[in-house]
Amino acid sequence: MTAPPAVLAAPAPSDPGAALTRRRVRVGETLFRLALLSCLVVAFAFLVWIVAFAIYRGWDRLDARLWENMPTGRVSRIEGAGVQSAITGTLWVIGTTALICLPIGILAAIYLEEYANNERWYNRLLELNIQNLAGVPSIIFGILGLGVIARAMGLGFTVLTASLILALLVLPIVIIATREAIRAVPQSIRQASYALGATRWQTISRQVLPIAVPGIATGSILALSRAIGEAAPLIMLGAVTYITFNPNGLDSAYTVLPVQIFSLVIEAQAGFQRLGAAAIVLLLGLLLLMNSLAIVVRNRFQKRW
């Protein structure tokens, strides 16, 4: 084995400083950057197009009639119609969904992160299934709701049925987001707590959860904004009707904005379609609001270590 020469002699340039100034245009570098940028532009351009189109089509219906009046099935009354029952229906359904899926999802995530020994096969099976569940098409959940909750359990086409199904649909999202938030809490905090004689529940409730709250809140809001835009499962669950009253309880008939939009835009007359476009703008505004809230919560309470 021969030792490499101790010093690799560098060729001595005549003017070392000048060598630094020969700036080149790197073609590959520039092309790659443009390719990345154009991908972003494509995604963003379509969003802008949709929003602009909806605003344009629904412009003369974007006023108080939208939320003050009920929908109608009659062409003659369409100019005075709104989507109030769908707005209140959405609020009822999403509110109930949140009450069902947040406690269950958060507690399930705490179990998986803090209690479950993931060397046990049943815990791994649970985990795998939750991930798979997140990939099940939402229409399948609708069929489940129709067969089991609406018919076999006899809950019918009600706010409660819709909420249960939407809760099941977004449960995996809540669980996954909460687990991420809990996992981001440094292990050293748990160890410090245990070393002081705290029990597992004290450690979780007084240290881990308070630190994880912003992450959990962000994930929960995003999960609910997914639920708010769902139409497919609710089409199976009796939301496709002209409901001309606000829900007054969990056992009430209901409709929600996405389904109402669907019902409106499939009508032939322009009046229905303009109302549908205005409702789209309303729904998008609602989603945007929830997503901004998630960002605000995340930035506001973010802990830096």
Binding site: Q191, A192, S193, Y194, A195, L196, G197, Q207
Partner: protein, 303 residues
């Protein structure tokens, strides 16, 4: 008792010079060795914690093999040795922190005042209330300084009378009070690294443990902060039994009464196992070790 008093006097002398430097360990430093201790005769104070042929496994891997040693009352015992020799692992068996690693398993006997810590009826929560721990990286809770200190007494349901007084006492005990008394409500994470580590010590002594385990408590700190912590350790040793893991041999020589040298042995299959080589009075271990391997390590021929 005379010996003990003398030992403590020597400690306070040493503690006036927190950044005192000890020359590279070697034959020439006999005079400096063991400023803290080496005044105990054979036997010394009673053992609070006793390890008897303790082995720790992670899964099938035996990380530390058959370690036996006493941890003596109101003394500082230092665990030194190269990386991967199992010092921290052994430390964590003493308050059952290894329980938090699902694959960890302990064999042999770890006893606290004669009680087997791993007996099935023993509650690890109770163990940790009596045997506290300070970690390598300062890890204050992201809460106020006050709440950091009050957390232990609160969760353990300790009867402390006035919590404000109790917090003040603990912070004084950790030599932090004067620096933070005006800002008890500000976040513990806003303190400097050295202050954070003293906050962690205050938090630990607030539950009045009998033993404090320190896992390389100064490795993330600058020399001045390290000096403060070492000084503090001398004071704490008057009331607490301390076990410290350290990579810094000078630190072990400065702060401890007893030093245990661990090493990693590679077996025929190429697997590393930690093993206790020698436990001795600190002065003796650093000047006249009984084992050749200890001598090689402290003189820098190995490790």
């Amino acid at each position: 008792m005379g010996n003990l008093q003398e030992g403590l006097d020597m400690i306070s002398i040493a503690s006036d010079r927190p950044t005192v430097r000890i020359a590279a360990p070697g034959a020439d430093r006999a005079g400096h060795a063991g400023t803290a201790g080496s005044t105990d005769g054979p036997g010394g104070p009673p053992a609070v914690v006793e390890l008897d042929r303790v082995s720790v496994f992670y899964g099938d891997h035996e990380a530390v093999r058959e370690t036996s040693m006493p941890i003596r009352q109101r003394r500082v015992t230092a665990l030194i040795g190269p990386s991967g020799c199992g010092k921290s692992t052994i430390l964590r068996t003493m308050n059952r922190m290894n329980d938090l690693i699902p694959s960890a398993r302990v064999t042999g006997r770890v006893s606290y005042h004669g009680q087997d810590l791993y007996a099935p009826e023993v509650d690890p929560i109770e163990v940790r209330r009596r045997i506290g721990m300070v970690f390598q990286k300062p890890n204050p809770f992201p809460k106020s300084i006050y709440d950091n200190v009050a957390y232990g007494p609160r969760v353990t349901g300790m009867k402390v009378g006035n919590m404000d007084d109790h917090v003040e006492q603990a912070l004084r005990g950790a030599a932090l009070w004067d620096e933070v008394k005006g800002k008890l409500r500000s976040n513990g994470l806003a303190l400097s690294g050295g202050q954070q580590q003293r906050l962690c010590i205050a938090r630990t002594i607030a539950v009045r443990p009998e033993v404090i385990l320190m896992d390389e408590p100064c490795s993330a700190l600058d020399p001045i902060a390290t000096g403060r912590i070492e000084e503090l350790m001398h004071e704490l040793a008057q009331h607490y039994t301390i076990v410290i893991v350290t990579h810094n041999m000078q630190q072990a020589a400065r702060v401890s009464h007893y030093t245990a040298f661990f090493t990693a042995e590679v077996d025929a299959a190429g697997v590393r196992h930690g093993k206790l080589v020698e436990l001795n009075d600190t002065g003796k271990l650093f000047t006249d070790p009984d084992d050749k391997r200890t001598e090689d390590y402290i003189t820098g021929r190995f490790g």
